[in-house]
Symmetry: C2
Subunit: 190 residues, 2 copies
DNA sequence: TAGGCCATGTAATGTGTTACATGATTAG
DNA sequence: CTAATCATGTAACACATTACATGGCCTA
């Protein structure tokens, strides 16, 4: 399961479930997400399997925190996972399914509205990723060849997001242009 | 649920569960997939809700076929779905998660092997999509502006697949080049 | 006659979301 | 005082995969 391995990956430093939820949002949010209600039982299971260990710590605010630490076995399992070759699953894009059947709406202006909406979504996600990229450049410079191994890998995943969403935004624009040609009245003969 | 709506969309012509599995592979496979064991109960549920109706038909080979047909309500529900604005969920890419934590493998040659493997996967999916595109061009010509509305929408989804996977393949190549620069011995001073 | 395709389905399990439940501390 | 944030968890439900079960027909 990917979530289990992602939690192992994030636990290079000890952290609580609550911390990990934040770490999710700050680091892997653009290719994975998880709710607290899923994180807590998953951590418990990982501890039962002795890939993690936990201790209770008093918290300055709120109830005690259960802080998890990676065990040797946990580190080994993370290693196995990353070395196991790419896990390529069948990705699901609900919005493409909608577009595929959009002629059922029987009005191309519906498609136009749909594509504008989609473009907005994608463009704002792209902007977020570019902001993260800007921050990385500001801190580590704009030459990834000089990054640490850790930084290099993280930058590479970010880059894939930027490139592939960038391609999708361009596709939205081209598709919108094609829709407008279809909607325009045909050229009158001279 | 997307699967329900996709089944409604595919049922422009009456079909059995078995047929629909094939239709999946032939049409929407690059952005959605489903197993027969999921399709059968879903069709049953849609019939209970009167979005579909079914009748048993003798089959030339094998057991009787349960053939489903779209009802008026089913058609209306499909329409509602496509008109409801793009459903953009958080997409999950397990292989990006692996890459993100790949420095845990402690050997950049592992990353290299991983990226080669990934590139192969993506390139072969891209090739499949281009083959489909070639077939469409052969039948309907290479000017999508002249396609029927139906054909236009279908071509647009195909195009997104080609563009976004194309961008990913390019990203693989650039990342592999960067890895090779890192692996190469540093240039000796003159 | 063995294996593949046609054809339907159930059961068990895995994975993920939403809603619910509880309660302390702190900033406005 | 009210809302947000900190902090943990359970329960119900939704969605998807894998394995199991059955059996006829056709081709190599």
């Amino acid at each position: 399961m990917s979530l289990e391995h992602i939690l192992l990956g994030l636990l290079q430093q000890p952290a609580s479930g609550y911390d990990l939820k934040d770490a999710f949002n700050e680091t892997v949010a653009h290719f994975w997400s998880a709710e607290l209600s899923q994180i807590y039982p998953t951590l418990k299971r990982l501890e039962e399997r002795e890939l993690l260990r936990s201790r209770l710590e008093p918290s300055p605010k709120g109830p005690d925190r259960r802080v998890y630490t990676l065990t040797g076995e946990g580190r080994a399992e993370l290693r196995r996972w990353v070395r196991g070759g790419p896990v390529v699953g069948a990705e699901r894009f609900a919005y493409l399914a909608q577009l595929y059947f959009m002629s059922a709406a029987d009005d191309l202006r519906e498609t136009r509205a749909f594509m504008m909406d989609l473009r907005d979504h994608l463009a704002s996600r792209l902007a977020e990723l570019r902001t993260i990229e800007g921050k990385i450049f500001a801190v580590h410079g704009d030459q990834p060849d000089r990054y640490s191994d850790d930084g290099f890998h993280r930058f590479a995943t970010l880059r894939m997001g930027i490139d592939s969403i960038g391609a999708k935004v361009t596709w939205c624009d081209l598709t919108l242009a094609a829709i407008d040609r279809r909607l325009a009245p045909s050229e009158p003969a001279p």
